[in-house]
């Protein structure tokens, strides 16, 4: 039984009726245990405050709105001064630099694989990375673009490996043909893309030669012709692009086979067939003109013509008839 004491000055000095039936009163008797002599009633202010706090909307504002407002206000106050923002920026960038410059993120060397030494030197020169460098500062995409600008490079993969190694896996462009361009000798790959320049033809005498303007645009055709001309490859000096539209095959002793604009391979195969049958190429011709499919022409040298004429005369003189 909890007895609720009241100051003796108050008129009813009894507590809540202590009937026998209600023993367990303490759970819901409104008065909190206060010092005896004080009024158990809440003050008007505390009563109103409690009611206000029990209002759902107010409760929500207090629980969610106020913290959000405080945070936003603090941020706004901080941002309102430029100097503070600047120091914050500096601090942030310092922290960033601190992390970026950790040894775990350092790249110390560039490893270029499966590439000729000159190309490797070219790549080192063009990328011009000042090692050691943080991997955050390496713009691999731009680097890749730079390297791919080299003519000798067909493709490149850049990987930063553990241990601070920048791995450059280059697919080198394979020179397939030598083109005597308007200024200098150039090596082209099978697609006609420039690979490198050479000083003399003898440097790459193993590769076929093409000359003439815009010959580099038709490297594939030239290579096909070379492939078709394999029976007399030894005699073939090169291909010359004529009028930017068709090919002349130049053989030893400045002899030519003039190929048509359309379907030069078929014409060439015809020559090879003739050669196989009649030993055409062994003859002393100047030009085999296949430009007109219907009318192939063989032009002989003047001396040969003269000799032929002389021979004919001789024959006629010898003829008893």
């Amino acid at each position: 039984m909890q007895s609720v004491d009241r100051p003796s000055g108050h008129a009813p000095t009894i507590g809540v009726r202590k009937d026998a039936a209600f023993v367990d009163r303490s759970i819901f008797v409104a008065e909190e245990k206060k010092k005896p002599g004080t009024d158990p009633a809440p003050s008007r202010t505390s009563y109103k405050l409690q009611r206000l706090l029990l209002t759902p909307f107010f409760h929500l504002i207090l629980r969610a709105g106020l913290p959000v407002f405080a945070v936003v206000a603090a941020m706004a106050w901080y941002v309102s001064d430029d100097a503070r923002v600047a120091t914050l920026d500096v601090k942030l960038s310092e922290m960033r630099a601190l992390i970026e410059n950790r040894p775990e993120f350092q790249v110390n060397l560039m490893r270029i694989e499966d590439v000729s030494a000159s190309l490797a030197d070219d790549i080192r020169e063009i990328t011009a990375i000042d090692f050691p460098v943080s991997s955050f500062d390496l713009d691999l995409r731009a680097l890749r673009g730079q390297i791919e600008q080299l003519d000798a490079v067909a493709g490149v993969d850049l990987v930063v490996r553990a241990g601070g190694i920048l791995d450059v896996a280059v697919v080198e462009r394979q020179p397939a043909i030598v083109w005597r361009g308007p200024r200098l000798l150039e090596l082209l790959d099978a697609q006609g893309h420039r690979v490198a320049a050479i000083e003399t033809r003898s440097q790459r005498s193993d590769l076929p030669l093409i000359v003439g303007e815009s010959a580099d645009q038709n490297v594939q055709e030239a290579l096909a012709i070379y492939a078709a001309a394999s029976p007399f490859l030894a005699r073939l000096r090169g291909l010359s692009r004529v009028g930017e539209r068709r090919w002349d095959m130049i053989l030893q002793d400045d002899r030519r086979i003039m190929l048509p604009e359309a379907d030069p391979i078929a014409a060439l195969e015809r020559v090879i067939a003739l050669d196989a049958g009649n030993d055409l190429l062994a003859r002393d011709f100047m030009v085999i003109d296949l430009r007109n499919r219907a009318r192939p022409v063989v032009r002989l040298r003047d001396e040969v013509v003269d000799a032929m004429h002389g021979l004919a005369d001789l024959n006629s003189k010898d003829d008893p008839l």
């Binding site: 009894i14 507590g15 026998a20 039936a21 209600f22 819901f28 409104a30 809440p42």
Partner: protein
């Protein structure tokens, strides 16, 4: 009639608002203690009438979520006497209940026992025009009741239509839709002192609450303590409170009479205090522990320490036998019950078909009260406890809480009162547009 029920109509509007919010405070302002229950109404499901559910259906819809009680202050005879003190007590109890329920309460339904309730039986009759009895006809017949001159400074608290009669058929509870030529109604009007109600209203307002209804304590404790058969056949509920003893008589599930005897348990306490020369606090304690109204031989030998703090050994070590204590208490309790008897006689209780008397309230816990009451009031006396409602703690289920529990039932399931019907059109002054709208609604 218009102005008469304006306050009551306003309270009904507040009650609707409270139901909509789903939270309402029940405030029982007694002389000795103040009880506040916070009710939460959820899922106002429509009652399926075909399932045979009776008038008790309303209870399942609410739940008590907050309970608090405190000793009453500034209340005498169930009326507010010192408003400031009462306001503090209401604040105390409401704050605790709100804290327990963890919800803010804006509406309060209040009951109190005092304010000198007086019952009037009213009759009124009208001739019916339509085919059946419409809602409007009920409003008309209710307003046709001849209102007695209940005096200035008094106002109606309850105006309950008790029974209707259509032509020669009597005792109808719901005549709506039935055919007839003439309808008459018996109405029970309960008036109380206006000042008490106004004080209460002001007190509630000062606690930032809206008054959503007032009820007589004896009426609502009858709702809680009487079982359905008793209210149907006729029974009286004697609510023995601290400062006053309420009497309410029910018949056909309606309140037909209510009155108050302005004596209660506090008077017994003060008798003990005076008779045994002890402080009121001690008197209250020994009344609760050793009190009774029927002395036996054993009680002569059982001695009660009166105690004291005067420092005078002779006074502080006094002892009385329990029989002496009973001897002090008994005349006062007898007096109260005889007064109750007088009120019941005045109301014509002996003509009711059932004459069950139910004693409830804190004072009904005096040992031996029931046999004594049956000697004074009649054979069919029983002690009543309030019915159980959901969420009420065990400690608040005693008979002292029957009016609080009854007020919960009253809040959940109020009886249709006179002001719940619309004011009949012919009695409404002004507002011609509203009358036109009403005419349209009735005829189209």
């Amino acid at each position: 009639m218009n102005d008469l029920y304006r306050g009551q109509r306003a309270m009904r509007a507040q009650r609707l608002a409270a139901m909509q919010r789903g939270v309402v405070a029940i405030l029982d302002i007694g002389t000795s203690k103040l009880v506040c229950l916070v009710l939460r109404f959820d899922s106002i499901a429509p009652v399926n009438a075909s399932e045979g559910v009776g008038s008790m259906t309303g209870q399942s819809r609410f739940r008590v979520t907050g309970v608090a009680t405190t000793r009453s202050r500034g209340v005498r005879f169930g009326e507010i006497e010192a408003m400031e003190e009462t306001e503090r007590a209401i604040r105390t109890v409401l704050q605790a209940a709100q804290k327990m329920a963890n919800v803010r309460v804006d509406h309060a339904i209040v009951c109190f026992s005092g304010a000198r309730p007086r019952s009037y039986g009213l009759t009124g009759s009208i001739a019916l025009q339509g085919a059946g009895v419409a809602e409007q006809d009920i409003a008309s017949v209710l307003s046709a009741c001849a209102v007695p001159d209940y005096g200035a400074g008094r106002q109606p608290m309850h105006a309950l239509p008790v029974s209707f009669a259509l032509d020669h058929r009597l005792g109808l509870t719901d005549p709506r839709g039935q055919a007839g030529n003439r309808m008459s109604v018996d109405m029970h009007l309960l008036t109380v002192d206006s000042t008490a109600v106004e004080n209460l209203l002001r007190c509630i307002k000062r606690c930032d609450l809206e008054l959503a209804g007032i009820a007589n304590a004896a009426y609502v404790s009858g709702m809680a303590a009487l079982v359905e058969d008793e209210t149907e056949l006729g029974a009286a509920c004697i609510e023995m409170g601290g400062g006053s003893t309420g009497v309410s008589i029910f018949l056909k599930k309606n309140l037909i009479f209510a009155d108050t005897v302005r004596m209660g348990g506090d008077h017994v306490t003060s008798d003990i205090s005076q008779g045994l020369q002890v402080p009121l606090k001690t008197a209250e304690r020994i009344k609760n522990f050793y009190g009774g109204v029927v002395a036996t031989g054993m009680d002569d030998r059982e001695m009660v320490d009166l105690g004291g703090e005067t420092g005078d050994w002779e006074i502080d070590r006094r002892r009385v036998s329990r029989a002496e204590l009973i001897g002090v208490m008994r005349p006062r309790v007898e007096e109260i019950l005889e007064d109750v008897r007088a009120r019941l006689d005045a109301a014509g209780f002996e003509y009711l078909p059932g004459q069950r008397i139910v004693l409830t309230g804190g004072g009904s816990q005096i040992p031996g009260l029931a046999p004594m009451a049956s000697r004074i009031l009649g054979q069919q006396v029983r002690l009543g406890r309030p019915m159980r409602i959901q969420g009420l703690p065990q400690a608040a289920t005693g008979p002292a809480f029957s009016s609080a529990v009854g007020l919960c039932l009253y809040a959940a399931h109020p009886q249709d009162e006179c002001w719940d019907f619309e004011i009949p059109a012919e009695r409404q002054t002004g507002r011609s547009i509203r009358r036109a709208v009403r005419w349209f609604r009735e005829n189209w």
